[in-house]
């Protein structure tokens, strides 16, 4: 009975790990979307001439911004997203490793239960 409780506990651990991994996957997806959008903005700003009028939407107000300032802000944003993506990637590989280990653990426990059940069935036949 205690073995069964331990097994349930390990299965729950695996479920929790998989849920966490899903969260990281979603986070990475959002990062990729933000990265793509920022890259597009950077490309457009790079095409602008020096006298172009650039505005930034802050709340409900459009505020005039210097072109070079806008370029550097987007550049910094790209760097930030890039470092965040690397952090999330590291977390994903770490949690994936833990998931694999936990899954193996659960499967091994399952196998040992099956073997015990088979042995018990054999003993009953005798």
């Amino acid at each position: 009975m205690a073995d069964m409780a331990k097994f349930e506990e390990e299965v729950n651990k695996l479920r929790t790990l998989e849920k966490d991994r899903e969260k990281y996957f979603t986070s990475r997806q959002e990062m990729e979307m933000r990265l793509t959008e920022s890259k597009n903005v950077k490309a457009e700003l790079d095409l602008m001439e020096s006298d172009s009028k650039v505005y930034k939407l802050i709340g409900a107000v459009l505020v005039r911004q210097d072109l070079e300032e806008a370029r550097s802000t987007v550049e910094k944003r790209l760097e930030f997203i890039d470092s965040e993506t690397k952090r999330v990637e590291a977390s994903i590989s770490d949690i994936s490793k833990k998931c694999t280990e936990q899954r193996d653990k659960v499967m091994n426990m399952q196998k040992s239960f099956q073997m015990m059940a088979q042995a018990a069935a054999q003993a009953q036949k005798k």
């Binding site: 597009n40 700003l45 939407l57």
Partner: protein, 152 residues
């Protein structure tokens, strides 16, 4: 040299495993379908912007128009310079451009989104094919199990 991971034939999977696989495939299909619909929506919005540029082309300085403040509230306004357009380029940035440059931005957006639509469309076709394979394997498995039960 590392060996390439070998796939497991669908026929070797249990009903439960096939069911799981079918569920995962369905989830992926839904995700890509949503992405496809969102991209199509973006294309439509972009087309509207392009046609709006054409509408403003005939306007002159002093031209009056009704400007929407909300979906049900409009205000009468006068165009001071119809040759200048404020175009959103993303992440809250807007640029003031003439008609040609504004059109060029929308054309680039259109090209970019169209490429993504084509990519997602290809993935959708592949996922639908996979779903059909899994569904067939599932049906075959069910029928073979029923046949086995009947013979017993």
């Amino acid at each position: 040299m590392a060996e390439e991971p070998k796939g497991v034939p669908l026929s070797e999977l249990s009903l439960q495993q096939l069911g799981e696989l079918q569920k995962n495939c369905e989830q992926e299909l839904n995700f890509f379908q949503e992405s496809f619909n969102a991209l199509k929506g973006l294309l439509t919005r972009n087309e509207k912007s392009i046609s709006a540029l054409d509408d403003v082309k005939i306007a002159t300085a002093g031209h009056t128009a009704l400007i929407p403040l909300s979906e049900s509230l409009y205000i009468r306004a006068e165009l001071s310079d119809p040759s200048k357009h404020l175009v959103e380029i993303g992440t809250g940035y807007f640029v003031e451009l003439d008609r040609e440059k504004a059109k060029a931005i929308f054309d680039r957006k259109k090209e970019h989104i169209t490429k993504q639509v084509e990519t997602v469309e290809g993935i959708l076709k592949e996922k639908r094919r996979t779903r059909a394979y899994i569904s067939d394997a599932f049906q075959t498995k069910v029928q073979s199990q029923l046949a086995t039960m009947n013979t017993q």
